[in-house]
Subunit: 275 residues, 2 copies
DNA sequence: TCTTGTGAACGGTTTCACAGCA
DNA sequence: TGCTGTGAAACCGTTCACAAGA
């Protein structure tokens, strides 16, 4: 869950930071018309960049809005939507304001309009073909989703090094060999690579995905990947997640030990029983 | 990957925010001796809280340090370690400073010492028993890790609603029924629940996990969970990750369209071929 | 001389509070 | 009247730059 940039150098950037010299900014949500008026070739772009944190939340809003639409809702207030998303309403409104002004004062937002605008902003009007590399437990599970969450992310290639697996279809797609990553990815126009290999293989496989022209990598391997600047990496790290939870358990236990009552009610397993 | 707090109310808190009235702070890394001198029952805790972002990175440093130790390294400088972790060295040093001063100026850090201190800080000296609920594709994969990443997180219970699955051992542990979550979790002293059910079941299953006394939940279901305040939730959301990547692809495509050369070299699939 | 540890500046994100509009 | 949209303030995390110390 962390974006990286920069390649093999000590001053490597982290998260949404850019390497020192990069211009940054200049990404326009094209906040006005759906039609692409993006012909003006002027270096000064119009709109401000959307904060990464807001982008993540927009995806969450989108899911909730889609569910609401399915249940027949046509309008929603910032209060309702923010409650459903678990954020406060000011934050929600600010997030929505980054993509334009699509609400009606005194009334709320039209669900359908928001859905459309968020989809456009997130680039979901276009399909993003996905390849999964490493068909072990996790890769298998990912491949079997067969057409990732919520459409728009069809899995179109699978890779593994195991000869027993190569050629076998998983979730409808035959597994190709890791060696063929560059060719296959280029042929099938893969834009997102999902890395689910053991850590030792991760960097090599990553390099091949990059050679195959993928623009983004979703990395499940517990490894810090080195990629060229134009490739976006996001990391999902199970061990780190568990360790963060562990930290919170420890913190809480610590506080209780120190005589602070964190919550007068229950105190979780391994601790006191409620009187 | 977002922590939540607060239960069923519009003003619900998000991320590391606390509900308005909560005291906050007061978690001490016990920065001095390994021995537990935590007998003083004074309400004023000694050390400042470690930022959540830093905690996540500490877990990453720990993995790298463990690998280095295995390869026989005994000391490491902030420069080396930060390069391996993909962060800048100032950030690394600040992160380490949150847990105490274990470096030697002009020299660096002792690998073994750092490993020990980070483990202590993250609460990894204690075992955290894990239960996985929802043994579908993903749950299966998680269960088969059998003893989660890097030891310390043994999987000790599995749950599903499918009668054909109940009783069947997966990764050595027989699957129990979702209805039995509270009893089984309490009996086996589960402290971390992993939610891998379909979204519709997630909140119910979550409630049972909480009833069973789990203190933390790692949520793979695309749902905003409502939990009591003393339960920590972290979310891993595949769809959101992909959509964030999609956003970046779209942004980049947009910029290129506007005549900005993002990277003079390659431009990813679907785009220009390098001259 | 070299590297840590950290105060201070900076930049990004969240929250507040209210003006603007239906 | 009610809810959106947004400047401005508050907050938090990151980066800088250098003093401290082995």
């Amino acid at each position: 869950m962390v974006a990286q940039r920069g390649r093999r150098n000590g001053a490597a950037a982290h998260k949404r930071t850019r390497p020192p010299g990069t211009p940054d900014a200049d990404n326009a949500p094209t906040a006005e018309l759906p039609a692409v008026s993006a012909t003006a070739a002027y270096p000064e772009a119009r709109a401000k960049s959307i904060p990464e944190a807001a982008v993540a939340r927009l995806a969450v809003y989108l899911r909730i809005l889609s569910a609401m639409a399915e249940q027949g809702a046509t309008t929603v207030s910032s209060e309702e939507l923010s409650a459903a998303a678990g954020v406060n309403s000011a934050k929600l409104r600010k997030d929505l304001s980054y993509i334009g002004s699509y609400g009606t004062r005194g009334v709320g937002y039209e669900v359908a309009v928001l859905v459309g605008q968020i989809e456009r902003t997130l680039g979901l009007t276009r399909q993003h073909k996905v390849a999964v590399a490493g068909i072990g437990n996790l890769g298998h599970a990912l491949a079997n989703y067969g057409g990732f969450p919520g459409r728009g992310f069809p899995v179109e290639a699978l890779f593994d090094i195991d000869p027993d697996l190569v050629g076998v279809p998983v979730g409808g797609i035959p597994v190709s060999h890791l060696d063929d990553i560059p060719q296959v990815c280029a042929e099938r126009q893969i834009s997102i690579g999902v890395l689910a290999t053991p850590p030792a293989a991760a960097q090599t496989v990553c390099d091949r995905l990059v050679a195959g022209g993928v623009q983004c990598i979703l990395n499940f391997a517990p490894v810090v990947l080195q990629v060229p600047e134009h490739v976006e990496v996001r990391k999902v790290d199970l061990a780190v997640e568990l360790q963060i939870l562990s930290f919170h358990v420890a913190r809480r236990a610590d506080n209780e030990l120190n005589g602070k009552v964190v919550d007068p009610a229950v105190a979780g397993n391994g601790a006191v029983v409620p009187s």
